[in-house]
């Protein structure tokens, strides 16, 4: 599934990184601990988090992740947006909680 399909299916907001909407998704990872994501996330996963600072993008790019979903209506910092546009890794947003959006993503990817 492509990131753009995910956006449509889950009604996500696209903050940035539109050029990465064609990125192919291999799975999801949920964590707010950056070392955990660094150590254990895989290529092509969608990362669900509440962290909005630019280190999140640095990690997503080092790990070749497909996209980031920010939960609970949180918005990315300005420099996070810029980094996302440079790296073509979309930052997406939802008003839902981590629990709710994770459940929906899991269901969608395993449909």
């Amino acid at each position: 599934m492509k990131v753009s399909e995910l956006v449509n299916e889950l009604g996500l907001k696209v903050f940035s990184g539109e050029k990465g909407l064609d990125n192919e998704i291999t799975g999801g990872y949920v964590s707010d601990l950056l070392s955990d994501v660094m150590g254990n996330a895989r290529d092509g996963q969608v990362w669900i988090t509440l962290q909005v600072h630019q280190n999140v993008m640095a990690i997503a790019s080092l790990k070749d992740m497909a996209a980031i979903i920010l939960v609970k209506g949180l918005e990315p910092n300005e420099n996070t947006l810029q980094h996302s546009n440079n790296e073509n890794i979309p930052i997406l947003g939802t008003g839902l909680s981590t629990f709710e959006i994770s459940g929906k993503l899991y269901e969608l990817l395993n449909r």
Partner: protein, 136 residues
């Protein structure tokens, strides 16, 4: 081939720049993907440790046909008990750093897991030297 980077303590905006540069170079050299992943994880954690725990530091990278050797030296408080610091979950990170999602105490263990050789030397009140080697 040699690369060198400088890091300022406390400046989280820079964290990951050296890792990103080294990743690019290793890709260009055609190093296998799994090895690059390991190196990137270890170097990122090592970079963040200088930003989070030291005052300033230098990263020297040396790549030959068999291996990559990365040496990070910093001026900083040093590590009083390295064995303790290596334990999963041990962290002296500040509250601010922890709120950013750093400071889980997984950095040094992640470095250990993702390198073929890891050596830390530290002098309290002076600084820390970390050497990591990955074979291709």
């Amino acid at each position: 081939m040699r690369l060198s980077f400088k890091i300022e303590g406390g400046d989280f905006t820079q964290a990951g720049q050296a890792s990103s540069e080294v990743k690019k170079v290793l890709k260009q050299l055609g190093i296998d993907a799994k090895t690059i992943k390991n190196i990137v994880i270890a170097l990122y954690e090592a970079e963040v440790n200088i930003v989070a725990h030291a005052y300033r530091g230098t990263i020297d990278v040396e790549i030959d046909d068999k291996k990559i050797t990365i040496r990070l030296t910093d001026e900083g408080p040093g590590i009083p008990d390295i064995e303790m610091a290596m334990k999963e979950g041990f962290s002296t990170a500040s509250k601010k750093v922890r709120e950013m999602g750093f400071g889980a105490g997984m950095g040094l263990p992640n470095i250990k897991k993702n390198t073929d050789l890891m050596d830390i030397k530290s002098t309290v009140g002076v600084g820390t030297e970390l050497i990591m080697v990955n074979y291709f």
